[in-house]
């Protein structure tokens, strides 16, 4: 939503300006603070470092395969391997994130709808929901690690849990907020329970679910990286933890930038999807 006296084009221009300002500020900081944390790695890595030696160093994380060699196999670091490494580890993180999102969204929403089926269902689950909602997600990382080990399944389960709790709570809330007149109306037209859920409850809760989706995406990114920090042998979170152990601040910075980029794209996609699903509510009056 834009302020009354600003055109969308001008807003975008200002956003771009602020981002460029930040990038320039970072560069200035890197010149002002030339100290190195370990030999060859500046405390504030400037862009000329990040996109050359840092990027190149990521080729170490390419395990080889698909007809390509690896640095570990004796090849010298190169940009192709660096990009392959980024693709490989991003792909693994995406897989964990997406599966967790899909499972969490489905389970959370379906459970939420099932509970909303009856008044008693709502009464019984509302205290535990509150409890789960305020329980910090990342505090559960060690617990999940013990329960599920370091498996792909365990990481997916952790993301799914984080996403599922948000969707569950949001669904129960949103269903309770559906205007009774729509439900009454559908019933007087002869709608059965399932038909009512499909044609009235589900579409009616979508605008409220939009914000839940954005929350869940944030939680999903936090959860997937959190899960990878603790002992994963692949994924973007693994690179960050590995780099931290050796003081490779520049690599951590580059991966963090990548995560910001990915997360932004995922938010943008979710926004587009929900704007499309909820286009009826944006219709001009």
């Amino acid at each position: 939503m834009s302020a009354p006296d600003s055109a969308p084009g001008r807003d975008r221009l200002i956003n771009l300006g602020v981002l460029s300002g930040l990038a320039i500020g970072w560069q200035a900081l890197s010149i002002a603070l030339p100290q190195e944390i370990v030999p060859g790695v500046p405390l504030v890595p400037g862009w000329q470092v990040v996109f050359t030696s840092t990027l190149l160093s990521l080729s170490l994380y390419w395990p080889g395969g698909w007809g390509f060699g690896a640095v570990a196999g004796g090849d010298s670091p190169n940009y192709l391997y660096a990009l392959l490494a980024i693709g490989y580890h991003s792909g693994i993180t995406f897989a964990r994130l997406l599966m967790g999102l899909v499972v969490g969204t489905c389970v959370g929403t379906v459970l939420g709808l099932a509970i909303s089926w009856s008044v008693w269902g709502r009464r019984i689950v509302s205290p535990p929901i509150e409890f789960l909602r305020v329980l910090p997600l990342l505090a559960l990382v060690p617990l999940f690690r013990i329960w599920f080990g370091l498996s792909f399944f365990g990481q997916v389960a952790f993301v799914a849990y984080g996403v599922g709790v948000i969707f569950f709570a949001a669904t129960v809330n949103a269903v309770a907020n559906v205007a009774p007149v729509y439900i009454d109306n559908a019933r007087t037209f002869g709608a059965g329970r399932f038909f009512l859920y499909r044609t009235v409850i589900l579409p009616a809760i979508l605008p409220e679910m939009h914000s839940a989706v954005l929350l869940a995406l944030g939680a999903a990114w936090a959860a997937v990286l959190g899960a990878e920090f603790l002992g994963a042998q692949s994924g973007l979170g693994y690179i960050i933890v590995y780099s931290q152990a050796f003081g490779f601040l520049d690599r951590m910075f580059l991966i963090a930038l990548l995560v910001v980029l990915y997360a932004s794209v995922s938010y943008w996609l979710a926004n587009r999807l929900f704007q499309r699903l909820n286009r009826w509510s944006h219709a001009a009056t």
Binding site: V181, D184, R187, T188, F189, G190, T199, S281, A284, T285
Partner: protein
């Protein structure tokens, strides 16, 4: 011996009591007995809080009586059903469906094939004058247009009994009069022999006189008067200025506490 036809709507000793949060019992309806004939257009008039909306809710099956029974075309009312279409006071048109999908909704509930649904929906949209906004979202429509969509939807669903709960209360004078014509035109259906039975709740005396064959006056959960409006249709300004109609209007106003002297006497007599 002539067989008495089954009334379209039958209320037998219907009472509805609530327990308010502070523990005080509220009698919304007390021992109501009404018969409404098939094809009759009945308005229920009364001050707010007299129980008229409760009566309609019970008839729709959205509320249950504390005691007594309601029958629609001989069948006991226990739940909402497509045999009793409802137009609500609040906007009930689904904003997430296009106008035409709203009109088709009832037919869809009952599994009518899509081509047949489309045909019926187009027909009724045409008749309420909204054919050109069939594909629009309800949020793009005015309040009056939304009411037309709601009316088209209940008529398209084929309900023999229609229940309208102060549907036009929020509309301006001109819009309201135009929509009265739309409603009466659909009800009359070109002088059709099978008119639908209408129960119409309103607090607007002029609206009741324009629409109704029969007006029931409610006060404090009871029917206190049952009047016939014997003016010809359509009810033009001239028709509504007939002495008989004026007398009915006076009596209605007196029931609502808006008349003086002579009319108040009339009401007191009627109460006996």
């Amino acid at each position: 011996m002539t067989k008495i036809p089954t009334p379209a709507l039958e209320f037998a000793d219907v009472s509805r009591h609530y327990l308010r949060r502070d523990g005080l019992g509220i009698r919304a309806l007390t021992d109501l007995t009404i018969n409404i004939a098939e094809g009759e257009f009945v308005c229920i008039v009364g001050p707010s809080g007299c129980g008229k909306s409760t009566l309609l809710q019970i008839c729709a099956g959205l509320d249950q009586p504390t005691s007594g029974v309601v029958k629609a075309q001989g069948a006991l009312v226990t739940a909402p059903g497509p045999d009793r279409g409802v137009v609500f006071q609040k906007d009930s048109v689904f904003p997430w469906m296009t106008v035409i999908n709203n009109v088709e909704y009832g037919l869809k509930c009952r599994g009518v094939p899509s081509t047949e649904r489309r045909r019926v929906a187009r027909l009724y949209l045409e008749r309420v004058g909204l054919a050109d906004v069939a594909g629009a979202w309800p949020n793009e429509l005015s309040g009056g247009m939304l009411k037309r969509v709601a009316i088209a939807s209940v008529f398209a669903n084929g309900s023999p009994v229609l229940l309208l709960d102060e549907p036009f209360g929020a509309l301006d004078y001109v819009t309201k009069h135009k929509i009265h014509d739309v409603l009466l035109d659909l009800w009359d259906d070109g002088g059709s022999t099978v008119r639908r039975t209408v129960l119409f709740v309103t607090h607007d005396v002029d609206e009741a006189l324009t629409l109704a064959d029969r007006i029931l006056v409610m006060r404090a959960g009871e029917i206190v008067d049952d009047l016939r409006v014997d003016s010809t249709r359509p009810r033009t300004e001239e028709n509504l200025s007939e002495p008989a109609v004026i007398a009915t209007k006076r009596r209605l106003l007196a029931h609502l506490g808006l008349a003086h002297g002579e009319a108040r006497m009339l009401v007191r007599e009627a109460g006996r």
